[in-house]
Structures are given as structure tokens and as C-alpha cells.
């Protein structure tokens, strides 16, 4: 009799447990914690964060249901960036997203110090090899992978030629303290050498320097082209102001900034890059090894044109460009 009682209790207990597990719903029943470290707030980086969450949601990882995001923004303060990395690694989440090179580098360093192996994915990072995060982007082999944002700079220069076939000098503004910018400027310099163009550079170290840098380019270049430099892009309104006042055509490396007043750009939207990172994150959460996931670029590549900006800068948009454009901004 006793044995039967125990057997019944045992079976009931097991059933209750199974019931709870099944009852909590199909799909990922586990609760996931995902950390996000963003260096600074501007439209392109915010778009990565939004895309990331949406990409995860598309794969079934929804905020508030089975995912909790812990987000920090360093507001371009490097010491704070380090502290954030330490905090996030210390929390031992299931995955961490680093937005920009310095944020990801800090996370990688904090991970090394802590000796943990939390998967890290990155966005808004231009060259993971130069950032010291991996040797082979095709097979990262560690705990870090992601989506790089190196825009098609050659296509940007071709686009500038399409608008203005007679340009001889390109002016640019960037922060030599940003590794991603230095990398892109080197590429730009190569292209200029090949095409017989002169590149005039103005450097900045904080957003307060951007106005003076833009003004120093007046009369020294035919167009201004800005790479994905966080400092220069933070001061974009100042650059746009100078370009509009002096009829200097302004082109830029990321399509999100075209809305801010640049004439045109080609590239993946930062939002779609974020979505791709989100899907990579989902694969990792499902058990795939981050070291086996190759670093990819964002898809699809869009041509975005701002007709109002072109007007304000005294530039006519070639019909061929308008016909091809994926998105035309008119305000």
C-alpha cells in the first residue's frame, strides 16, 4: 500500500513538472539576458540597436517575453566605456552586443581580464582585425563575431564623380583618435591616389572642433566627404551649415546621415546591419559557436539621395542617379 502511495506521489510530481515546462509555451522557454554597450548616441548607432532587437525578435527572442536587455551608453566617455564593459562582463549575460569599435574592444579586454567566455557580437565596427579582436574574419575562432560597417568607399567616390565629373580635390574631417576612421581614410587616400585626386584633411578631437575644421576647408576642396567618424558625425549640423553657406557639395559614408543634410550615400542601412547582428545573436543563443560564424557586411546596399540638400548646396542631381536611387529624401 505504502509503495503504491509513493508511486502515485512520484508520478503526480513528475506530471506537474512536465506540465509546467510544457505549459510555459513552445519555443525558447528560457529567459535570456543580453547586454548592450553603445559608445555614443547618434542616429546610425541607435539604428543598430533597434535593428538588433528586431532581428532577435524575428527569431523568437522578444524583449519582455524571454529576453531582458541591459543597455548602457558611454556618451563618448572612454573611462565610462571601460566601466560599462566591466559591469556587463561581470553580470555574466548570455550574450553582449558592442556598438562601435571602442565599445567592443573594451568588452573583449574585460572578458580577457575576467577569464570568461561570454559570446560578444559587434556592430558599427569597421575592421575587426585592426581592432585586435581576431585574425581571420572568415573564421574568427574565439568568442567574438559580428557585422562590419565598412562602406563601399570606392562607390562613394564614383558617385561623387557622377555628380561632379570635374572634381580634383576632396576635403574630409575626421578624428585621428578613432581607429575606424584612420582605416577608412587610408582607403580613401589610396583611391584618391589612383584617381589622381588630392585629399585635404582636417582633424578634430571633440565635436566642438568640427565647426572650425569645416570652415578651414572652405576654398580648399571641390567636395567634402565624411567617413563614418563618430566625432565628425556628431557635429554634422555644423558641417552641413558650412557646406550650405558656401555651396560645397557634401557626401557622406553612411546613409543614415543623408537625412541629416548630406547629398547622397551608398551603403547598407545601419538598421539592416543591426537586424543581421540580431540574427547572428539568435544563432549563438541557439548553440552555434561564435568562432565559426564569419564576419559579414550588411545587406542590402541602398543608394540614398537628398534632393533638398543638393538644392541648398547648388548641386544638380544627375537623372541617372535619381532613377537608381532606392530612397529619395526631399526635405
Amino acid at each position: 500500500m505504502r509503495k503504491l502511495q509513493y508511486a502515485v506521489i512520484f508520478v503526480v510530481a513528475i506530471s506537474l513538472c512536465l506540465g509546467a515546462v510544457i505549459g510555459s509555451g513552445c519555443g525558447p522557454a528560457q529567459q535570456f539576458t543580453i547586454g548592450i554597450s553603445q559608445l555614443v548616441t547618434h542616429a546610425a548607432l541607435d539604428a543598430i540597436s533597434d535593428g538588433f532587437k528586431d532581428g532577435l525578435a524575428e527569431e523568437g527572442y522578444v524583449e519582455g517575453e524571454n529576453v531582458e536587455f541591459i543597455e548602457y551608453n558611454a556618451h563618448y566617455d572612454m573611462p565610462t566605456n571601460q566601466i560599462i564593459a566591466g559591469i556587463l562582463i561581470g553580470m555574466n549575460p548570455d550574450l553582449i552586443l558592442g556598438i562601435t569599435t571602442p565599445s567592443t574592444q573594451a568588452l573583449a579586454q574585460a572578458q580577457q581580464n575576467a577569464g570568461t567566455s561570454i559570446p560578444i557580437v559587434f556592430g558599427a565596427l569597421t575592421d575587426p582585425v585592426a581592432a585586435g579582436l581576431m585574425d581571420d574574419p572568415e573564421h574568427p575562432g574565439g568568442y567574438i563575431t559580428g557585422v562590419h560597417d565598412l562602406g563601399p568607399i570606392e562607390q562613394h567616390v564614383e558617385l561623387m564623380f557622377e555628380f561632379l565629373p570635374n572634381i580634383t580635390t576632396i576635403g574630409t574631417i575626421y578624428n585621428p583618435g578613432e581607429a575606424n576612421s584612420v582605416f577608412q581614410i587610408a582607403i580613401l587616400q589610396d583611391i584618391c591616389d589612383t584617381e589622381g585626386l588630392t585629399l585635404v584633411e582636417a582633424s578634430v578631437s571633440t565635436s566642438a572642433d568640427v565647426l572650425a575644421a569645416a570652415q578651414s576647408l572652405i576654398g580648399r576642396c571641390d567636395v567634402i566627404y565624411i567617413v563614418t567618424d563618430n566625432t565628425a558625425v556628431s557635429g554634422l549640423p555644423a558641417i552641413v551649415g558650412v557646406c550650405e553657406d558656401n555651396d560645397i557639395p557634401l557626401f557622406i559614408g553612411d546613409i543614415t546621415s543623408v537625412e541629416g543634410g548630406a547629398i547622397a550615400s551608398i551603403g547598407p542601412s545601419f538598421y539592416s546591419m543591426g537586424v543581421t547582428v540580431g540574427k547572428i545573436a539568435a544563432r549563438i543563443l541557439e548553440g552555434e559557436n561564435p568562432g565559426d560564424i564569419a564576419v559579414t557586411s550588411g545587406e542590402p546596399t541602398l543608394l540614398v539621395v537628398n534632393t533638398a540638400a543638393a538644392d541648398r548646396m547648388g548641386v544638380t542631381i544627375p537623372q541617372s542617379v535619381l532613377d537608381r536611387a532606392d530612397e529619395i529624401i526631399t526635405e
Binding site: 585621428p176 578631437s205 566642438a208 549640423p237 553657406d245
Partner: protein, 301 residues
Amino acid sequence: MLLNITSITFEQGLAYALLALGVYLSFRTLDFPDLTVDGSFPLGGAVAAVLIFGGGSPLVATLAAVGAGLLAGIGTGLLNTKLRINPLLSGILMMIGLYSINLVIMGRANISLLRVDTLFDNLAHVFGVSTSPTLVILSLAVLVPIVIIILTWFLHTNIGLAIRATGDNAQMIRGLGADTDKTKIIGLSMSNGLVALSGALVAQDQGFADVGMGIGMIIIGLASVIIGESLFRRKAMSWILLSVVGGSIVYRLFVAVALRLGMPPGMLKLITALLVIAVLAAPRFRGTWERLSRWKGRNHA
């Protein structure tokens, strides 16, 4: 090109001159090393930007920015006088706290003023011209001397003299019955009010306010004050204040020249520093040069 450099130099030199005047008031007059500046400068920019972006009158917004700066200075003053916190630390604490406050005020790290009417745009409308760097320079060239006149007058009033005495020898005037707590608070408040005004005007000139725009401003303010003092040695208060403005303009000149020299971009800061050193060291070498010329002359005779 010369015109371009002159334009940049005066536009930024005058806008940041108010910052330099504020720094002069705290560092030299009050003898208080006030680092609040790195926080009150963007505070001025943030308050002005948020109000203008929200549709408010730029004039009111700029005045509100000054008010915010006054409050920031009072904060630093209270930390030092009532809580007995070291002057340097009081400024640092306010600067750190203001960083978060600025973010809260703006709601985000960066506000664009490109498509809204700023104080300079309004002035342009009044005079029926278009907003241009020349207009900015002219309006600042009117504003800055007015500020100097007001400041000079103030520093000769009883309170102003008390503030100057506090910086000279606080113990002495306390012995004479003055309330140095009050003078410090008033002095710091005015200093940061000026700095915030500068921040508000710079934000409207450059077309955006950014939470990081204050980083290093104390350095620039100090450099302006010291360059001014070294180049234009004057005793009278109004001349001293003018020399501070001159120092700000000269500093901006060096930055503009360094940018145009086309050096490797990473070298910009070093070039600027070297130019400043060269100008400050020149008076020393003038003496050596004269001696050398006399020696040569004697030998040839």
C-alpha cells in the same frame, strides 16, 4: 585664405571670449580653480538648444542658459563654502554632475539647431540681411565689449571689490567683516553665467549642442587668459579684460593656422601647443636678440 582665417579666428575667438572672461573671473579674480566650466559650458548650450528647438524665443533661451550657468556656479560655491569641500573638488563634482544633468535636459546627447532660427538668424531678420559669419562677428563684437563694460563697472562696486579682495586675501577682508562665503558664491555664479552664455552662443553659431562640447573648455579658457596676460601686459581692469578677449582670439588664430598648415591630422594639437609656446617665449628671446645685435655691432665698429 587670409580672409577665411581672419573670419574663423574672430568668430570663434569672440564667442569663446565670454568663456575666457568667466574663467578669468574665477581663476584670477576670485583665485578659485573652478573646473565647473567643463560642465557649465555645455549646460548653456543644452538649455539654449532645448528651448530653441522646442520653439522658444532664442533670446529667452539664451537668457535662460545664463540663468542655468548662474545656478551651476551657486552650486559650486555652496559645495565649497557650506560643505567645506576643497575648491578644485567642488568644481569637479559639479562638472561630473552636470554631465548627467545636461543629458537629462537635452533628452539625448546631441540637438541640431540647423533648421531652426537662432539668435543670429533673428538679428539677421531685424537688419534685413542673411545670417553669415560676418553678422555673427559683428554682433559678438558689439556684445563682448558691452559685457566687458558691465563687468568692469561691477568689479568696482562694493560687492565687486569684495570679490576681488576675497581672491587677494580672504582672511584679511573676513577680519574687516566681509562675508567671503557670499562673495565666493556670487563670483562663481557670475563666472559660470558668463561661461554658459558662451556655450549658448557657440551652440547657436555652430548649429548644434552636444553633451561632449565642454570637454577641455577649462584648458582653452585658461590658455586664453594666460596668453592674453602675457601678450598684453596691462594694469587697468578694463584693459585686463580686453586682453583676455585678445588671448581668446589669438588662441583661435593658432588653431586656424595649425589646421591650414596641412600637417598630419594627429599633429594638430601639438602644432597648436608649439605655436602658443613660440608666442609666449618670444619676449624672452627679444632680450637675447638685442644683446646679440649689440655684441655684433660692437665687434664690427
